[in-house]
């Protein structure tokens, strides 16, 4: 089985390097095909591993080589494939494969076609390291690796220029890329601190060893480690307050958004919490905090999605919101639930994004939903896919979201955290509303795209075919819930609903479905018949503006952090470094020179004054001697 581990891990690397060979050449179709096949190989390997583990129930571990061996620190490139990992691997490789294939279509006329595939495969490689590593430092490699790939891919169209926030809320791809990288770095510091704490307290970073001895530590230390690691997770999974980068990351090509900013990378934080479940189950108060934060983010992001007009941003906010759900579940101790929602969400969210990609292509990169409408006619398949995705997202039976999201609500109910339950429930309604607002705005109503002179067309068939697996997954995953539970609970703690909750399940399901349906209906009523804009409302309603401007958070960050930092830096350089530090150094030099100039005046060339100085010297040394006497 080890060889499959290697295939799964290194096929993406080979793919990336292969593509990199052609990085500066014009488009080579072979690159797209070869990388897709290589990633597909990784998928196959992952599936084989999945089946194997399903069968044997034993994790597969490999040790590649030593990495950092210093002092007592002994870090190896060690990989282990257990139940959680293999699920993640499968999800990652599946979506990656789809995205790779789809990108052949999406990027077909891009000059940097080859470069794109190189980055994309590099991302997959990093993600595989992230999920497969058997220690925290390996995880961190992947963690940073995906960060870089994300940076490269968000900034893929680096040549676009910076705009003001009014024109483009993300300013520019390169700006968004930097924002994402830096925000993630903030969180990574937390992650590093967690790793340091683990190392100095346990002397190892290997999961199995760490979690075996986690009980030896004091509670306070566990809380510290838990919080530090979660800070890391917050960055990657774009939790409040580090969430702004995710929406801006939509500047990247759409397949990137599908792969990275919906399905895989952003779920790394959730993966970390799930992976560290032995730790978090020891510290339920931190878990509760995570759940509360997740819940908050769920509704917070959903609220922003309500009014946004940008096709991709809406999906991005919905991703944020769904990540909130996952954290809520994980925080409450229902790790497998979180993982399940992760997997399901990956499928339907990738589907939605890719669909959005089709729409963008059709609309010549126009993203404003208010300028679309009636696309159903020309883009039937896309409509179908996005409809499935939206239904899954809204949690309508029998789509995947129904099973995963409902379980989260049940967990919240079961934990007697009714506040969380209520907010999540409400969010479910909002989710349904904005997803279908999107669907209706894009595919129904009047054909507003004529105004901007677009000639929409359906995507190429192979692109549509490529989307099929995702659609199938979005529809069918829910039915494998029981198998899934059985499979992962061999590794993850089981989560038993209380009897009370068991009774309530049906009612809860109905309530949730109702609120989702309400959302869909409201969206239908408001948008399906065509767009009726209430400009006065848009301009004057404070809540609308607040939501539309993302609670002004990017602006606040700009004003509170970015600008003062820039100003402070300028002060540090111009005022402190040049005026104080350097000036005092030069000042000493100047002082010495001035003193030299001053004492040189005594040397006035006049012999008489020289003689006077000499006599004065006698006085002078007498004074020195007198002082010496006095001192003694």
């Amino acid at each position: 089985m080890e060889s499959y581990v290697y295939i799964a891990l290194f096929a993406p690397l080979v793919s990336s390097l292969f593509a990199a060979l052609f990085a500066q050449k014009p488009k080579v179709q072979l690159v797209g095909i070869a990388t897709s096949i290589l990633i597909g190989a990784a998928l196959v390997a992952s599936v084989i591993l999945l089946l194997d583990i399903e069968e044997t129930g034993k994790a597969v571990s490999v040790n590649l080589m030593d990495w950092i061996v210093v002092g007592d620190l002994d870090t190896k490139f060690g990989f282990t494939v257990d139940q959680v990992t293999v699920i993640m691997m499968t999800v990652v490789t599946l979506i990656s494969t789809v995205v790779h294939v789809y990108s052949n279509y999406y990027m077909e006329s891009d000059k940097s076609f080859n470069r794109f595939f190189s980055y994309l495969s590099a991302f997959v490689f990093s993600m595989m390291i992230l999920v497969m590593s058997d220690n925290f430092l390996g995880l961190f490699i992947g963690w940073e690796g995906v960060g870089v790939c994300s940076w490269l891919l968000i900034g893929f169209w680096y040549h676009k220029k910076d705009e003001t926030r009014d024109v483009n809320p993300s300013i520019s791809p390169s700006w968004a890329a930097n924002e994402a990288f830096i925000m993630n770095r903030i969180a990574d510091l937390g992650m590093l601190v967690g790793i340091f704490l683990i190392y100095w307290n346990l002397g190892t970073l290997k999961y199995t060893e760490v979690f075996a001895h986690i009980g030896d530590l004091s509670h306070a230390m566990l809380v510290g480690i838990g919080i530090a690691l979660f800070i890391g997770a917050m960055g990657k999974s774009a939790q409040f307050p580090l969430h702004t980068w995710l929406a801006d990351a939509m500047e990247g090509p759409t397949p990137v958004s599908a792969l990275i900013h919906a399905a895989t990378m952003v779920t790394a934080g959730v993966y970390l919490v799930i992976r560290a479940n032995p730790l978090y189950s020891q510290i339920p108060e931190v878990g509760y905090g995570i759940a509360v934060l997740g819940t908050f983010v769920a509704i917070f992001a959903a609220s922003m999605a309500l009014v946004n007009r940008d096709l991709k941003r809406v999906i991005a906010y919905s991703t944020l919101s769904q990540l909130g759900y996952m954290f809520a579940a994980a925080g409450l101790g229902a790790y497998w639930v979180a993982l399940f929602h992760l997997a399901a969400h990956a499928a339907f969210k990738a589907l939605l994004f890719i669909g959005a990609g089709n729409v963008m292509h059709a609309m010549h990169d126009e993203l404003d939903m208010f300028k679309m409408g009636g696309l159903k006619k020309v883009m039937g398949w896309t409509f179908l896919y996005m409809g499935i995705g939206s239904l899954a997202l809204s949690g309508i039976y029998p789509f995947a979201g129904f099973f995963s999201k409902d379980t989260i609500l049940e967990v919240a109910f079961n934990e007697h955290t009714y506040g969380i339950w209520f907010v999540l429930w409400l969010t479910a309604g909002l989710t349904a509303f904005y997803s279908f607002r999107q669907v209706f705005l894009v595919f129904f109503g009047d054909e507003r795209y004529h105004e901007i002179g677009a000639h929409p067309h359906e995507a190429k068939p192979y692109a549509l075919w490529a989307m099929a697996p995702l659609a199938i997954a979005a529809v069918t995953v829910g039915f494998f819930k029981e198998d899934f539970v059985e499979f992962v609970t061999k590794f993850l703690p089981e989560y038993e609903m209380s009897e009370h909750t068991e009774h309530m399940v049906v009612i809860l399901t109905i309530i949730t479905t109702l609120v989702a349906l309400t959302g869909i209906v409201v969206a239908y009523l408001k948008y399906a018949k065509g767009l009726k804009r209430d400009l006065e409302f848009e301009q004057n309603n404070k809540i609308y503006k607040l939501l539309y401007n993302q609670y002004y958070i990017p602006v606040i960050y700009d004003r509170v952090f970015a600008k003062p930092y820039k100003e402070l830096s300028d002060i540090a350089w111009k005022e402190i470094d040049m005026q104080v530090v350097d000036a005092s150094v030069d000042g000493i030099a100047k002082f010495v020179e001035k003193s030299g100039d001053a004492s040189r005046k005594a040397q006035n060339g006049n012999l008489s004054s020289y003689l006077n100085w000499m006599a004065a010297g006698l006085v002078f040394i007498t004074v020195i001697a007198a002082i010496a006497v006095a001192v003694q």
């Binding site: 940073e144 990574d188 350089w573």
Partner: protein, 508 residues
């Protein structure tokens, strides 16, 4: 070959003198050949280095002034070995990438002299010999900056010289005091470092000596507030000067901390962890901010050097194997990465004769290879795992975390701030539309530049993924160093802080 170190020191010297007879036309080839031979020699040193041995190897001792205890005493251990190799490598690469046209012969001969001094500093085990090379290294650098530098080259070179000279003179007084203390204890004069390692000084003495040595090293590193010579030196120096300055000369200071301050004054070093580290942290954060404010590409790299040197100092004062080994490794990584970054800035400067960020933008389009290598080096600079930059930074922070978690967290902001200024440079230079028409015709990296840069890229990746060949010897020697410090320390605080081995954890 037991006298390989002597060969290593004096081969460039002889080559430099013989170089006077080589004609201007063929001097470049000569320089490359000599530097390559020297580099191969240093590799041979590595090959014949016993990696399991923690102590000094290839020791040579020849009495120079026996009466006064000064000897010609050389040796390398895991700590110095790789810095020596880096010095020879960076010289080779510097010469390969030379874009100087005027007085090329003088430049190459000067570089070879500089190489003598650089190798000498790191292999000297006699303190006076060390000091001789240490001071002598200023002279060729002065000439390089002063003769081939920018508009303010004279100011910059003199500032560089006098500033470092002043610091090292205070250190000289400290050296003489230690020698005297050794003399009063043993009755023999000796300047050999290994002898001094056996000397246990009372704390009241250590504290003054620590600061005397500190001043010398701190200016060289350079630590805030003694750093202002560096931006000038870098800003004015020709590319090769910056490369060697950043890659090797700054390391002399941090190497001094590891080689002298810690083992000679373990108690004082421990007692002054807090002030030193606070300076280091100011250095990390403050210079990162200053770097962000820069308008000149090279100044950004210059200030980033200071920031990274802060991490090195931090790791050194962790007083445990992880931190010190990390800081030694970080010296190498910073050498390679900042050297490469300066080469890159030099490449663009050769084309455009400006380093102002505002002149550029969008040049990734016209210079893709250049952009790729720059981004790789940027990533190494911000400490991305699997590049060389991560390991040192990570280990330094990890090591110091044991001493003070809070300070480490503050220092750790370097990973954020580093990203801020480096990415902002990348963005301003490479991204965005290509607006400046002068940039449209820029040529991508030439073969010459690629020859210089690709080995560095390879090292960045290789040591990022498989650092063991380098980290192993460093680890061994650092362990020995920490054990020595622990054995020597007299104050209880030092006994506690200097950590030979972890006392907690699974592997205890």
């Amino acid at each position: 070959m037991s006298n390989i170190l002597t060969v290593l020191i004096f081969f460039p010297l002889i080559a430099a003198i013989l170089g006077l007879f080589v004609s201007q036309k063929s001097i470049r080839v000569y320089g490359i050949t000599v530097a390559a031979a020297e580099f191969l020699l240093s590799l041979w040193l590595w090959m014949s280095f016993d990696t399991n041995e923690a102590g000094m190897q290839f020791v040579e001792k020849l009495k120079l002034i026996p009466e006064f205890g000064i000897s010609y005493y050389l040796g390398v251990d895991g700590i110095s070995l790789f810095i020596v190799i880096m010095a020879t490598l960076m010289t080779l690469i510097g010469i390969i990438a030379l874009s100087v046209k005027e007085n090329l012969k003088n430049m190459i001969i000067t570089l070879l002299f500089l190489e003598v001094a650089m190798v000498g500093v790191f292999v000297s085990l006699d303190v006076i010999l060390f000091y001789v090379f240490w001071e002598f290294s200023l002279v060729p650098m002065l000439y390089i900056i002063g003769a081939w530098g920018g508009d303010k080259r004279l100011y910059a070179s003199i500032k560089f010289f006098i500033y470092t000279f002043a610091g090292s003179l205070v250190m000289l007084v400290g050296i003489l005091y230690v020698a005297y203390a050794y003399y009063s204890t043993t009755g023999v004069w000796s300047f050999s470092l290994t002898d001094w390692y056996g000397l246990i000084l009372p704390f009241s003495v250590q504290k003054y000596l620590f600061w005397a040595f500190f001043l010398g090293f701190a200016i060289k590193v350079p630590m805030v507030p003694f750093h202002t010579w560096l931006p000038y030196a870098h800003g004015q120096a020709p590319t090769v000067g910056s490369v060697i300055l950043a890659a090797v000369l700054l390391k002399m200071g941090s190497y001094g901390f590891v080689r002298f301050s810690l083992p000679l004054f373990p108690d004082a070093s421990v007692a002054y962890i807090t002030p030193v580290v606070i300076i280091a942290i100011i250095m990390i954060i403050y210079t990162a901010m200053v770097a962000y404010a820069q308008k000149d590409m090279k100044q950004v790299i210059a200030y980033s050097s200071i920031s990274h040197m802060g991490i090195i100092v931090l790791g050194t004062f962790a007083m445990n194997v992880e931190g010190i080994a990390g800081s030694v490794f970080q010296m190498l990584s910073h050498g390679i990465v900042s050297g490469a970054l300066f080469l890159l800035v030099g490449a663009i400067y050769d084309r455009r004769h400006t380093k102002l960020l505002s002149e550029f933008g969008g040049i990734a389009k016209v210079m893709p290879n250049y952009a790729t290598i720059f981004v790789i080096m940027t990533m190494a600079s911000v400490g991305l795992p699997l590049t060389i930059g991560f390991i040192g930074e990570y280990l330094s922070l990890l090591g110091f975390f044991k001493v003070s978690p809070l300070l480490t967290v503050i220092a750790g902001t370097s990973i954020i701030l580093g990203a801020v200024y480096m990415l902002s440079v990348v963005k301003k230079t490479f991204f965005g539309p290509l607006t400046n028409p002068e940039n449209e015709k820029l040529k991508d990296l030439s073969t010459k530049e690629l020859t210089a840069l690709i080995p560095l890229v390879a090292i960045v990746v290789w040591l990022g993924i498989y650092p063991k060949p380098v980290l192993g010897p460093i680890n061994n020697s650092t362990k020995a160093l920490v054990q020595l410090m622990h054995k020597k320390s007299i104050t209880p605080k030092a006994q506690e802080i200097i950590l030979v081995s972890k006392d907690k954890g699974v592997n205890k």
